[in-house]
Amino acid sequence: MTLTLVGLSHQATPIAVRERAFVPLPQASQLAKELADAGEAVCLSTCNRTELYLVGEDAERRALDALTDLSGLPEEEVRGVVYRLADEAAALHLFRVAAGLDSMVPGEGEILGQVRSAFEVGAAGPVLDRLFRQALHAGKKVRAETAIAESPASVSSAAAALAQQVFGQLDECLVMLVGAGHVAELAARSLAARGAHIAVVANRSVDRAEALAVRFGGVGIPLEAAAERLADVDVLVSSTGAPGRTFGRADVEAALRARKGRPLFLIDLAVPRDLDPAIHELDGCYLYDIDDLESVVAASLAGRRREAARAEAIVAEEGERFRGWLASREVVPAIASLRAWAEEIRAAELERARGRLGLSESQHAAVESVTAQIVNKLLHLPTVRLKEAAAGADGGSYAEAVRHLFDLGDDDPH
């Protein structure tokens, strides 16, 4: 049976089609079960891709129909955007996906969790089980052995990574947000995800400040009171977008004196800027505005692309391993048939000779053991050779030759 992949992704499909083909996880589980029928199926659906991995009869046809139904588009249109891959090419594709090499941001970490979830709710059998486990292994290996996922890929994650570079673990770091908009919230989420405590939210509208603060377990205060709290926090995120400066050099200088040498990290996400750039000149104080953060992200993405070449090599190695395993499956039924055939002859001949020889129970057991050993020894080398051939490209033809030579037929003995 062939492993088949039919899917569409951000590489060639516009978002208008992708969003129609998107399948939430519970429905992905349902769809996989329906598609599995007598075979296997897993549906991997994220905002960037919807992919169906199938093993079974007429898999491509069924997957295409499913994608056509999901997208609600004419079949011809769907055929124009989907990719269809089989066996090792399909496996290699999934390994690249799990490693983050097929993502918009190379090495992004979310995809590995999405692959795991799709696998867990899918209807995997022996082939897809092996495929997805190996894909998860490849994804982890790429992240462990290359620096592809180490550097930040967005402005908010860059801000959090820089804060970590100053303070180390952020568990004991207190953060103040100045401004309660969407940008501040994104930065707060990124910092909180790394352990920081969002202690204060300052805003012109105290209601909005409190509404945001309560989500992170902090307190909301009016904007005018923010300067008084500056000495108490380690990280300040400012994003008011107000025309004037929210903090000047003198405010920060006073806060630094009160902090007795403990550094202060300031992130200015506003345009026009909220914080006086002269603050950055102060000793023990690090100010990053939106341009600074974007240049950190740009440098980091360039680094990720460099690391992608090393990641590709790891993925190719895993692809090769899977190919070997898949090929070995071709010869397994032939080996099993060969052994069953030999065992059948051995047992029949032994039974025929039993009456003629007049063996006692113990003598019969000894002869049974000796004949079994002879069969095993005779078949050992052909079995090894068949497995070796399977790891190369000749597995199929060797299996066919064995079936022909011993007249084994095509059926699996089991």
Binding site: E150, L162, Q164, D292
Partner: protein, 262 residues
């Protein structure tokens, strides 16, 4: 045997220094090679020192070159405590080239071979030279931490964190570790100095240049701890002060002969 071991030690430390530089450009296998270079070099140097100790009569490292050899071993020993951790690999960039250079200096300045104790009791030499060497080694590590701090701080100030992000220890960690290392080193330095002064008082004699510089080192590091913990000196100022103290360590270790043991 001892002379034969010198070259593999130098080769291993040199390889570690080069590999650490490679690890900055491209993290991964170069970092692992560097760590193994440090480990193998340290084992070989340990064998070298053991061989010298078994061959010598009494404390064997009283010459300038011999004590420098011991000092390098102590520096690498202290470094190994942190060096095997991924996040402290960059520290090797400061420590291993220094270790390799000092080892070459020891070789050029009289060989790494052992000598006799020159009439001093082994117990005194172990206490005095051993404690001072340990203190100097710890202070060297503290200086390496301060260098890494200044380098990283400079890059953060320049808005170019580059490869540091997520790979190097944080500024606060480096600063704290540097101070803690000095906290450990200063009592050893004090005890080593006291042992020397007690001996000087009972045997007579004046203060030579090495003693003066060692006392100066003690004053600088003492001031460092007072200023850091009492006056809140942190960050760049503290790092520069630690490096000022280390300049005196280098003068004491490399610039001056151990004249009072000759």
């Amino acid at each position: 045997m001892g002379e034969f071991l010198f070259w593999p030690v130098l080769l291993a430390y040199g390889e570690a220094a080069v590999a650490y530089a490679g690890d900055v450009r491209r993290p991964g296998s170069a970092g692992r090679l560097a760590t193994w270079g440090v480990r193998i070099g340290w084992l070989l140097q340990t064998a070298l020192l053991v061989e010298q100790a078994t061959r010598a009569d009494g404390f064997p490292w009283t010459t300038w070159a011999g004590s420098l050899n011991l000092f390098v071993w102590l520096v690498v020993t202290v470094y190994l405590v942190w060096g095997c951790r991924d996040r402290y690999r960059l520290l090797g960039l400061a420590v291993m080239p220094l270790a390799a250079v000092l080892l070459v200096l020891a070789r050029v300045g009289g060989g790494t071979g052992a000598t006799g104790s020159g009439g001093y009791s082994t117990a005194f030499l172990v206490l005095h030279v051993g404690l001072l060497s340990f203190a100097f080694a710890a202070l060297t590590l503290s200086a390496a931490l301060a260098v890494l701090y200044l380098w990283q701080e400079r890059r953060l100030k320049a808005h170019r964190p580059g490869a540091l992000l997520g790979r190097a220890p944080s500024l606060l960690t480096l600063e704290t570790l540097s101070a803690r290392t000095i906290v450990v080193a200063l009592p050893a330095l004090t005890a080593g100095i006291v042992a020397g002064l007690v001996r000087l008082r009972s045997e007579g004699g004046g203060i030579d240049a090495l003693m003066a510089v060692t006392l100066g080192t003690w004053v600088v590091y003492g001031a460092y701890l007072v200023l850091r913990y009492e006056a809140g000196w942190r960050g760049r100022r503290a790092a520069y002060l630690a490096l000022a103290g280390f300049a005196l360590v280098i003068v004491a270790r490399v610039g001056l002969q151990l004249t009072h043991f000759s």
